[in-house]
Symmetry: C2
């Protein structure tokens, strides 16, 4: 007797079940990382500005810092002439500006006390700074009628101290990390990645790099799924369990879970109706559901939990494993962790005819370019070379059995 | 005298100059990595299949392996009855199939010599496998008229030994890594990442986590650019050069370059027309061009090479640095390395009015959602909080001075 129901589960129903499983049972842990390490992560707490940005009023231009009152009145002829005081480079405290004088000031340099505006160097006469040797007794001509605040970046005008700089749940990209750095914050609390115990089982699969005995094949799924998981922000703990019996498999899995290092268990293979399906035989008795989803490839699916840890079982062919990841696990990880890794969905013109099994979402592989998609390889779920030559998944809906060349189909871009 | 020409350089011209600089001068090095390490990298050589996939003919179904000739003739009534031989699990060599018998076979198991077709278990009577104890003398009923090759995955049907599996220049995503694993290949030659010497200069900038003296600000650019570069597949070597004079700066830079660890030098700040612009003062005499590009922010740009190593100088405000990276360096890195990191370009309806300086591409920050984009913050290039609150760059072309609310604008999504 099999735990597979006779009715195939709709794809949307299983997708929602996977999302709910992760949403309800994934433990979120926070960790504190340096800004460089935190790239791409999600903030675990709202961060408030420990200081204002800019921290002090500064100049937006290379030019002259002035008191606008000194330029209020236009002279009878020409420009207002002001004596030139000490220049203010960026990075040092600025001395107070004497009334009736103008201080050469560089972009980003602190506006001196007393000054309330900057005249850009291009508006001054002369329109270049005096060299150090020429500065004694120098005078600069500046236009009258300069408004207070001109070319001044006021302290706190980007963000005042105490305001929320980044909300909990924000993704830390270059701009967000740049803001934290500008605020002087060197490390931040972020959510730890989901730790996935990725299980490889079965006597017939052999690690890449090892020799094959007759009847054996190399394990593609662990590599394929590990790369997929890493791309969705998960941390992968690989494990290989060699167990002849379901009892041995369950005992070995429980030992792995006892270490407390896994937030999610993911297996591939061993869940169909064959006579040697160790994952299904071991876990069906533990309350894990093994069902048939109305999808091809990737129909057989396992879902549940083992010792309180969420469990997903994918079918064993590489294409089935990849399609299962894309259809079920990637969107669930994005929804639960907040790390964006959605696939770009496009409409494309199918280059040839295609047929699809009745009542099942068929997911084919194809090459997409310029609005057209061409199928690569057949529907067979073992065709990993054809998969590697594709850049898109082509979705043929459950209610469609024939698609004519020239029809519109939905594609998910894989790159 | 400044090396800045009076005519601003068009954005497209500078973008092409940056691409040409990297294309002509970036050294490509190869390295050999394990499959896990090679994720996201670009293949440095074409990989040929060391063996066929599948490596041996195997069953596509759980069912019975048969000689199709034994099922050629329909009996007068019912099914063809064949004695059941030893079952063939996956992972072991299959003994030759005796003529006139049927061997229970599992999905992926080796097709026995002599057999040329598989009948799925669902078509057999009984439609479940015999338990070990029931097998002695067991007989199975199978339909007649089974074509040779049915449900058999022929050896080499996905890829034959010796064929090109992946071309030089292929990006190694999950599917490509899965193919390499399936072929038994454990490590591959890939191009090494571009190594960028990311230089922070200037007395006024202080590392995040350190206290500020009056007039100082925290360094946002190193963090922002390092995250941007890493996201485009580059490897960042950070360095902080504190140098009072252009001569000291140049000497320190040459010492860094002497280590041979940098494929590209990137600085931010120190390139405008102010009186203390150490990068420009040090490198203009070395043949580096400092020009003004018709873009706001990000107008001042430096481009050239130092001791044979390509050099780019970005302006110092964080928004200017990010815009410079997005407009010039990101597309050049993608073009030269083959690592895809293009920005999604969309057309969006602008939520409010915007003005833009004549003759310059203005790049504003905005929040994009559902086909609309709203500007965030003003045009000021110091507004890093506003930048961090944005998810898009909004491009207002050089020939446009006013954009009315409701107009279509081009946006680049930042996430």
């Amino acid at each position: 007797m099999s735990s597979t129901g006779s009715r195939a589960r709709p794809v949307e129903e299983h997708r929602e079940a996977v999302r709910a499983l992760l949403s309800d049972h994934l433990r979120r842990r926070a960790e504190t990382l340096s800004l460089a390490e935190a790239s791409g992560r999600i903030l675990a707490e709202t961060i408030r500005a420990p200081r204002s940005l800019p921290p002090f009023a500064n100049s937006q231009m290379d030019g002259y810092a002035v008191r606008s009152a000194d330029l209020a009145h236009a002279p009878a002829v020409g420009l207002v002439q002001l004596p030139v005081s000490q220049p203010i480079p960026a990075g040092v405290p600025a001395p107070e500006l004497d009334p009736g004088s103008a201080a050469p000031i560089m972009t980003g340099a602190m506006l001196p006390a007393g000054a309330d505006a900057v005249v850009p160097i291009e508006k001054a006469v002369p329109d270049a700074f005096y060299a150090p040797g020429e500065r004694a007794g120098a005078v600069v001509g500046l236009p009258s009628g300069v408004p207070a605040g001109q070319y001044v970046r006021a302290a706190g005008s980007d963000i005042p101290a105490g305001a929320a700089a980044l909300q909990e749940g924000s993704r830390l990209g270059p701009a967000q990390l740049g803001l934290l750095a500008a605020l002087g914050i060197a490390e931040v609390p972020v959510y730890a990645p989901v730790r996935v115990l990725l299980l490889s089982t079965g006597d017939e699969v052999v690690e890449p790099g090892m020799e094959l005995a007759p009847g054996q094949i190399h394990d593609a799924n662990t590599t394929l799924l590990a790369a997929s998981l890493a791309g969705a922000g998960a941390e992968v703990v690989r494990s290989r369990i060699l167990a002849d019996s379901p009892e041995d498999f369950l005992a070995a899995l429980r030992q792995e879970l006892g270490r407390g290092q896994a937030d999610l268990v993911l297996t591939s293979g061993g869940i169909s109706k064959g006579a040697y399906e160790v994952v299904r035989l071991a876990l069906a008795a533990e309350g894990v559901t093994f069902c048939s989803v109305a999808m091809q490839p990737g129909g057989p699916q396992g879902i549940g939990s083992v010792d309180g840890v969420p469990f997903l079982g994918f079918p064993g062919n590489p294409v089935s494993a990849l399609v299962s990841f894309e259809v079920f696990l990637r969107p669930a990880l994005t929804a639960v962790t907040g790390i964006p890794s959605p696939r770009r969905t496009l409409s494309a013109v199918l280059a040839g005819d295609a047929s699809s099994p009745k009542g099942k979402l068929q997911v084919r592989r194809g090459t997409y370019a310029g609005g057209r998609v061409e199928l690569v390889g057949g529907p067979g779920s073992h065709l990993v070379h054809a998969l590697a030559a594709s850049n898109a998944l082509v979705l043929i809906p459950a209610d469609t059995e024939q698609v004519k060349a020239g029809s519109e189909v939905t594609v998910w871009l894989l790159d």
